[in-house]
Symmetry: C2
Subunit: 402 residues, 2 copies
């Protein structure tokens, strides 16, 4: 007989999932009801309305897909392009590469616009690609590259794309709820995210929003998308007043998302963004004062996910394993070419807090010392405290593993 | 400010989700950990091992997809066929139709083998189609058609498919954990199910199992499947010892599935199947003794989901609404051509119990009477009690909405 689960508490300071607020965890145990129960339809309507506020959009087609953030990425590609369409994908990390892979699988003609991992894409690169490869159906870009810790400036690129007549797809998996993303002001056409990072819910849902312009293009498709499961027109027919059966919604995850969105809006988006900004800044200053080097440069450094170089001679895997087993702290390793080269430290959701920042600095310093690499932990903590002192918003939440 | 959720308790006697055992609901609130945490990898390994027992298979590639049962259907089509492959789909209800739609989207050459909704497919039909359309890449069939309440006999058809060299895909969404499905004995190649029906977990995961023969065919594909999210080779690389990052697993749903599988195996599969058989038989005899007519005929009547004709002159929607609002009981309406014609009553998971059966009979009788249609409730209850009395396995669990 398999024993029942006894899962340890962790400080989830990796690239996600982040720790879940106890109120969100409690929402998971509301009674399961049917996916067409009036009580659940109300959950859907309220969550869609709250998602519109978090995405800062009026888009009718705003909902949570029954899959992880990657399903949101695939839904965008599957619905927005058809075989032979030219697609510009901005690649400056692992998730840009993943989009390329999907474009090719869905028959798009791929145009890569690249930047070194750790740098953002420049607007002129997109401008040139749009000119050279016109007509372009879609431009895909990652707002917060989870593999590099770079925050991509979007305003100028979004304006160029809009002017070209192409659609704009934005990956907000690591930014939504922690970094401002004004969907409508930027005139983006398709934005997708996940539930388990800055929104602080369990993984398994992918909140998306789709512009009216994108919906009109989808309606003109010659063939339906290959994916029935992620067909946006079928999903829309379930989420709008038609309530046409499509899939059995993961109701418990929707309860959690509803609660997570409520808490985010109750805190206030501006306050929440400032809390994430303050925690990220304090962590980054602290790491640097300890003598460690960050991968991403200002001003493109993402506040919610910090990438720091593994010091020479130190074993990436051994340090992470010790942090996990000895201190219960998860941080992330590098992906792709950065494997073994960097750590990824998330300060997202409830973990965008002074406690999480100071815990991370001190534990990383301790464990590095145990591996023979001395850092100036006291200087790091002092610098972080100073940064936090001038940014009171950071103090609003406490980091508690749940 | 959106108020916090206050979801009512329901008796979920529709086509799913079914009620969730309180122990499964409690498992949802185990702490969220990372998708590569050793504690979570153990959950995956144990769940895969338990799924193999429930599926009665030795298939290495046995796992739970990060999506609903429909994602399991789509993963099968996306991975098992390539553009131009000939695919026989057995259609005797809504879910057979859904498979056809997916085959066409994924470029397959569709051959339909049809039976009237409410009847099973006959083996000779498959035999003839295999002969006429050879070579056939895949035959798809639904084991338990949720739209009609028919249980499809599989042994003869499976043998024919195996002999022909085609692969066999089986939809076990409504049967897994409630009706025996000996995957290996039948030599099926791909079987998919869901978490929220006879396994009694919340919706959001799709347990699948894939034969070695099917994996060999997948490895020989000329092009990867259109879906990256549901690519079985990538999923395998996450579930096996490579642990290659693919998606952020919906960890809380996996905790629940782990507990649901534990409870199913603790009860014992044979006992569990007999409990479902007894509850279904009692419900069906009871409904008939009340004077109602069933859609599916013996011996093809599914025990776990009973389809009963809406009596002439009675409003389907009004009866279901009154059952829900007045008695907290969900039963399902008909799909497609059976919309308004039948009700679908599920006795799955914890609801495969005397309490659920007697509750359903008495509540349906009461509400029908309120709508001017008299039934002989006392006779129905007496017949159901008598059936339950001779089948003691039915008494093992109690139906409690949670």
């Amino acid at each position: 007989m398999t024993p029942s689960l006894d899962i340890p508490s962790r400080f989830l300071l990796g690239p996600g999932p982040s720790n879940v607020d106890p109120r969100v965890l409690a929402a998971l145990t509301q009674p399961v009801v049917g996916h067409l129960d009036p009580a659940f339809l109300r959950v859907m309507d309220e969550s869609a309305a709250m998602l519109r506020r978090v995405y800062r959009t009026k888009n009718d087609l705003t909902l949570a897909l029954p899959g992880t953030g990657t399903s949101g990425m695939e839904a965008g590609i599957a619905n927005l392009i058809e075989k032979g369409d030219r697609v510009i994908v901005c690649v400056a990390g692992y998730f840009g590469e993943r989009v390329c892979e999907m474009v090719q699988r869905h028959g798009g003609e791929l145009v890569r616009v690249e930047a070194e991992w750790g740098k953002p894409i420049r607007a002129e690169q997109v401008q040139e690609a749009l000119r050279e490869h016109a007509p372009v159906r879609l431009v895909a870009i990652v707002h917060a590259e989870t593999s590099t810790g770079v925050q991509q400036p979007l305003a100028e690129i979004a304006a160029l794309v809009q002017e070209s007549g192409a659609l704009l797809m934005v990956d907000a998996v690591t930014s939504l709820g922690g970094v401002d993303l004004p969907t409508d002001a930027l005139q983006t056409d398709y934005v997708y995210s996940c539930s388990q990072k800055c929104l602080g819910c369990p993984p398994g849902l992918s909140p998306i929003t789709v512009s009216d312009q994108a919906r009109e293009r989808i309606a003109l498709r010659k063939r339906p998308p290959a994916s029935w499961y992620l067909d946006l027109e079928l999903l829309q027919a379930y989420w709008d007043e038609r309530r046409a059966y499509h899939h059995t919604a993961p109701v418990t995850l929707h309860y959690a998302l509803h609660e997570g969105l409520r808490l985010a809006l109750d805190e206030g988006l501006e306050a929440r963004f400032e809390r994430h900004a303050a925690a990220g800044a304090a962590l980054q200053i602290g790491l640097q004062q300890m003598g460690l080097k960050l991968l991403a440069d200002l001003p493109h450094r993402l506040p919610v996910l910090t990438t720091v170089r593994v010091p020479d001679g130190v074993s990436d895997a051994a340090v992470r394993a010790q942090l996990l087993t000895e201190r219960g702290i998860e941080i992330g390793g590098g992906l792709g070419p950065l494997r073994g080269q960097i750590w990824r430290i998330g300060t997202m959701g409830v973990n965008a807090s002074p406690q999480a920042v100071l815990l991370a600095l001190s534990a990383i310093g301790d464990v590095l010392a145990a591996h023979g690499h001395r850092t100036d932990v006291a200087a790091g903590l002092a610098a972080a405290r100073e940064e936090l002192a001038v940014r009171p918003a950071a103090r609003r939440k406490s980091a508690t593993p749940s």
